[in-house]
Amino acid sequence: MDYATLLQLLDSTLRLATPLLLACLAGLYSERSGVFDIGLEGKMLVAAMCAGAVAFYTGSAWLGALAGIGGSLIFALIHGVTSITFRGNQLIAGVALNFLASGLTVLTAQALFGQGGRTPPLTGAARFGELTLPFAEALRPVPLIGPLYAEVISGHSVLVYMAFAIVALTWWVLYRTRYGLRLRAVGENPAAVDTAGVSVAGLRFSAVMVTGVLCGLAGAYMATALQAGFGKEMTAGRGYIALAALIFAKWRPVQAMWACLLFGFFQALATRPDIVEGIVRVKVPVSFIEALPYILTVIVLAGFIGKAIPPRAGGEPYVKER
């Protein structure tokens, strides 16, 4: 494999890792607060549809992204009311929301556009354009670094850079702010937070809402940056891969970034089986590469590469004990 191919691969790794990363960070907030969320997929899908539709009508990718966040927030709110207010089963709620999203998005898109559950193709300002970073062209002649900067680092939509900035922001919020301290505490021992005079439900709701916002960005990226418009089931299991990455990263933000880059790399590889074949010199089925994130996650869950211990109070609605 030559350098140019590697750069291509890394470039698409970054593109493909971005929605995973946004959804993964989204899940991090919810799960760190003690609300398990297997409904990331559904929230992303709803966001993608809302973003695609509004971007088409307004011609603005930014308004699309806002709409995506709005749609995702509504689903996050349902998840919060179900699992925090009514203390329902968080996992079942997530499953329900995924199905709701899967059906509602097609119904809505079909009702609006009549194109078989898609939005019309987005063009121009309705999509997030590629940003060329400063000096990208000037530095290109520099050996190794130059092409890396120009080809891989530069030339992505603003959402890609936002995603990575949110990694740093999340780390900072989690470990350097009061909110982060409380968030980590409420997922481990809500009684400690409650007796300290802080509202458990309030904290959890806020976390679930942040999850909604970030899933909204992930979905918006899918419809208005990675692709040109919403298509039926376009998230294609990315919400679950993000969940896998979150477990792989043991619910930590920086590790989540590496996990998403790794899984994004697998996705990029799956589109180029010729490269894999060239390296390992045997024909590797594409489906195997596609399954790799899931297989790795199972291995991590089994505790063979360090134990993945979820937040201790995760999955359990908080009830004051007598």
Partner: protein, 366 residues
């Protein structure tokens, strides 16, 4: 919190949940500019008003009974098996391998062998998550989700690279030998007087009903079922009673996976007569809704499966005859899971309030 009378618990709670789901579905139909009344008319017309519709409704219901029972058995052991979809796909592989490479003389023998193959493969696919849950404490919900995706990849690999006949383009196996053809309702003497044209519902329907009885006997009449239920209610108490947690988790999940796998004799052997990609087509997930709505009781599961069979067939008719997309049934499915599963507490609280209101007004009247 006050308790509800038993009849309310068994019948009223699911009914109210279902009504809420129906109302919101109707609102969704209105929101996309269509007529809910027209929708329900088309659905009823196309699925239960004639034998042909019933032939499809019962075909779908058959699959859902299997996957609903699968979720039910795991639920009673306190395990949420989301992996029915993958297990059902693997069941399909089991059926295909059994039927493609051994020349069976008659469909009855083939049926027995294929059932074994389906159950075995489904159970095997549930075995790894079960083992990881029992021995390493890995959350079964996450592992079964992962195994759904691994199953999907494995099936693509098997169909594209291994089982695809030479020269064929579509990812599917060759057709099964004609001798393995299962009688459809229109081919069964007696039933063929009702079902005059070809329908996909086949003898597997009766196997599904039999399995519902078997699951009921298992859970409420055998020592194993007793232990499964006790373990599902309280793990520490089960330990006190000398119930082996590893054994119960493994057995419950193997039965669950086996039941999900068995679904394949309905759709793969009975209908498609070859193994196609995405063979389970969501039935594994619908099992979750069916089990929740059926209150994890085999009778409830059969009734809920019939309802979802109607929804599926009716939904398909909607797609054909109206402007309402077929995906409406996914929406209804999500709503049913939401209300009967996750918002159960809300519905109960609502009913308790209403009951309390009645009680006080009766007291005042008296």
């Amino acid at each position: 919190m006050d308790r509800l009378p038993r009849w309310a618990d068994v019948a009223l709670v699911p009914f109210v949940s279902l009504t809420l789901a129906a109302i919101i579905s109707a609102l969704v139909i209105v929101a996309i500019g269509q007529d809910p009344w027209e929708a329900i008319t088309v659905m009823v017309q196309g699925s239960v008003m004639n034998a042909y519709g019933w032939g499809y409704t019962l075909y779908y219901a058959t699959s859902f009974i299997f996957t609903g029972l699968a979720v039910t058995v795991a639920f009673h052991a306190g395990l949420f098996n989301i992996g029915g979809e993958g297990q059902a796909q693997l069941g399909g592989l089991g059926v295909a391998l059994t039927l493609l490479f051994i020349p069976w003389p008659h469909w009855t023998i083939a049926l027995v062998a294929a059932s074994l193959g389906a159950a075995l493969f489904g159970a095997a696919w549930a075995a790894i998550p079960a083992y990881l849950q029992a021995k390493r404490g890995s959350h079964i919900v996450i592992t079964t989700i992962m195994f759904n995706y691994i199953a999907a990849s494995l099936m693509i690999f098997m169909l594209v690279d291994v089982l695809r006949p030479p020269g064929k383009m579509d990812p599917a196996t060759a057709n099964f030998p004609p001798a393995t053809h299962l009688p459809s309702f229109n081919e069964i003497p007696g039933l063929n007087l009702i079902f005059t044209s070809g329908v996909p519902a086949n003898v597997t329907f009766f196997i599904a009903l039999a399995m519902a009885v078997v699951v009921w006997l298992l859970l409420w009449r055998t020592r194993l079922g007793y232990q499964i239920r006790a373990f599902g209610k309280s793990e520490p108490a089960a330990r006190y009673a000398g119930i082996n947690p590893t054994k119960i988790i493994m057995i419950a999940m193997l039965i669950s996976g086996g039941l999900a796998g068995l679904m394949a004799i309905n759709n793969v052997m009975g209908e498609a007569e070859r193994l196609l990609g995405n063979s389970a087509s969501g039935a594994g997930f619908i099992g979750i809704a069916v089990a929740l709505m059926g209150r994890n009781h085999p009778i409830g599961v059969v009734l809920a499966a019939l309802l979802f069979g109607f929804l599926f067939q009716g939904g398909a008719e909607l797609g054909l005859w109206t402007k309402i997309p077929i995906e409406l049934r996914t929406v209804v499915q999500g709503l049913v899971i939401l209300f009967t599963g996750a918002l159960d507490m809300m519905v109960r609280m609502l009913l308790v309030r209403i009951f309390a209101l009645f009680r006080t007004s009766r007291l005042e009247a008296a």
